[in-house]
């Protein structure tokens, strides 16, 4: 039922995005180990879908990878020199109390884009995500779908080589979900590494190039999407997939 709309990674290799490596990464808080120790590498074409039940550590893994949280042991490294440009789209978009355009200009200003080109770049990003008409609308009165598109436009304007998305569609209606997924594909096709958490199996099938399956704070399985969905190796992944399909 889902094989129709599986979009397996189109093997268009533009400039390969930097790869991400977790080396014995652990995260503990208040004496409890919440994540790891885990080692894995995201170096395939992607997009990488991070899946797993609630509390599996998906969001934690994303935050550790993005640098919002520092691992308490081990390290997160990137291929290439320095920290690549990256952006993150959150489950609930965090937007400033200003117009949609001003939100983008702020992000560009923070990233030291020269003042003269900010407005043009911001308008371009708004246009790309179908928000041109809302440029002067206060960001916080936009609809849920528009807010998430604005968050994506903001990420786009920063031209990241890695984009993290944390359950970006969990609060959206089907039309808005479709738009977000299209945007994710577009990022991917432009050569941005996508690392996205979701617990929607159908969405994962539509988008995934590879799947990183977490349970209990550690990686249970990391396989190409077709293998993961057809013949998951780990018991937890089998249970997760069949559970979802039965439900």
């Amino acid at each position: 039922m889902t094989s129709l709309n599986v979009v397996v990674n189109n093997p268009i290799e533009l400039s390969a995005p930097p790869s991400l490596h977790f080396e014995n990464v652990e995260f503990s808080a208040f004496g409890h180990r919440l994540f790891g120790p885990c080692s894995f590498a995201l170096d395939g074409a992607g997009p990488t879908m991070v899946m797993g039940p609630n509390g599996a550590g998906k969001s934690l893994m994303l935050r550790l990878a993005h640098g919002l949280l520092a691992p308490t042991a081990g390290q997160v490294t990137w291929s290439g020199q320095g920290r690549p440009r990256q952006a993150m789209v959150f489950q609930t978009p965090v937007l400033l109390r200003r117009s949609a355009l001003a939100n983008l200009k702020h992000a560009l200003a923070v990233n030291k884009v020269p003042r003269a080109s900010r407005t043009e770049l911001a308008r371009e990003a708004l246009a790309r995500f179908g928000l041109s008409a809302s440029a002067d609308t206060p960001a916080r009165v936009l609809s849920g779908g528009e807010k998430q598109r604005l968050a994506l436009a903001r990420a786009w304007a920063l031209s990241p080589s890695i984009l993290f998305l944390d359950e970006p569609t969990s609060a959206l209606d089907p039309a808005a979900i479709k738009e977000v997924e299209a945007a994710v594909r577009e990022f991917h096709e432009q050569g941005t590494r996508i690392v996205m958490t979701t617990h929607d199996l159908h969405q994962a099938r539509r988008l995934a190039g590879d799947v990183l399956f977490l349970a209990g704070g550690s990686v249970q399985e990391h396989s190409p999407a077709d293998i993961f969905f057809d013949k998951p190796v780990s018991r937890q992944a089998q249970a997760f997939i069949s559970g979802e399909l039965v439900a």
Partner: protein, 232 residues
Amino acid sequence: MEENAFYVALSLLVNFDASLYQIVTLSLQVSLLAVLIAAILGFPLGAAVALWQFPGRGGVIVALNALMGLPPVVAGLGVYLLLSRAGPLGEWGLLFTPTAMVIAQVVLVLPILAALSRQKVEELLGEYQEQFVSLGMSRARMMPTLLWDARFALLTVLLAGFGRASAEVGAVMMVGGNIDGVTRVMTTAIVLETSKGALPLALGLGIVLLTLVMAINATAYILSETAKRRMG
């Protein structure tokens, strides 16, 4: 009829009583300037306390909160000692000038603006922090963004500061001296007229003061409500 306070207030106003207008103008000048200076110092101070973790931060927060209730006469006494001839800043000859009154009111208003803006900025930071870190913003870079995004809340904070400044009498009395035509403001004039027994005039001045404060608050309220509704 002439003894009615409302009548006195009204006649002072409609007759453009020169000394009344001078008193009102000076009151506004002193308090608005004090609030402006306190805002320039206090908002960044409040935001800094919200943003940075440092040893003794808890103590600073407690001190700022406590100083919101600083008795005006104590602030007045402190500024008096500082500016009096024998004091460390005595050479400047500022005692019994409007400048001294501004300084005293800055001392009173600054803790209010800093303490309340600290709260507002901290709330906002809780909401924005992950996005800010994701954008690679330093704490120093977060400050202007947070202060701007808290602007509607800070307008209310500003009003609280202005209310404190325009209403207090102890500090301006002590460092200003209530000199007719030089440092006499509404509150000190009311104290003087009351002690002279000129109650209708005192009440009239009181009504003018109250009306002014109401007008300023109403304007700010309407401004911020309209803006809030527009910005979501």
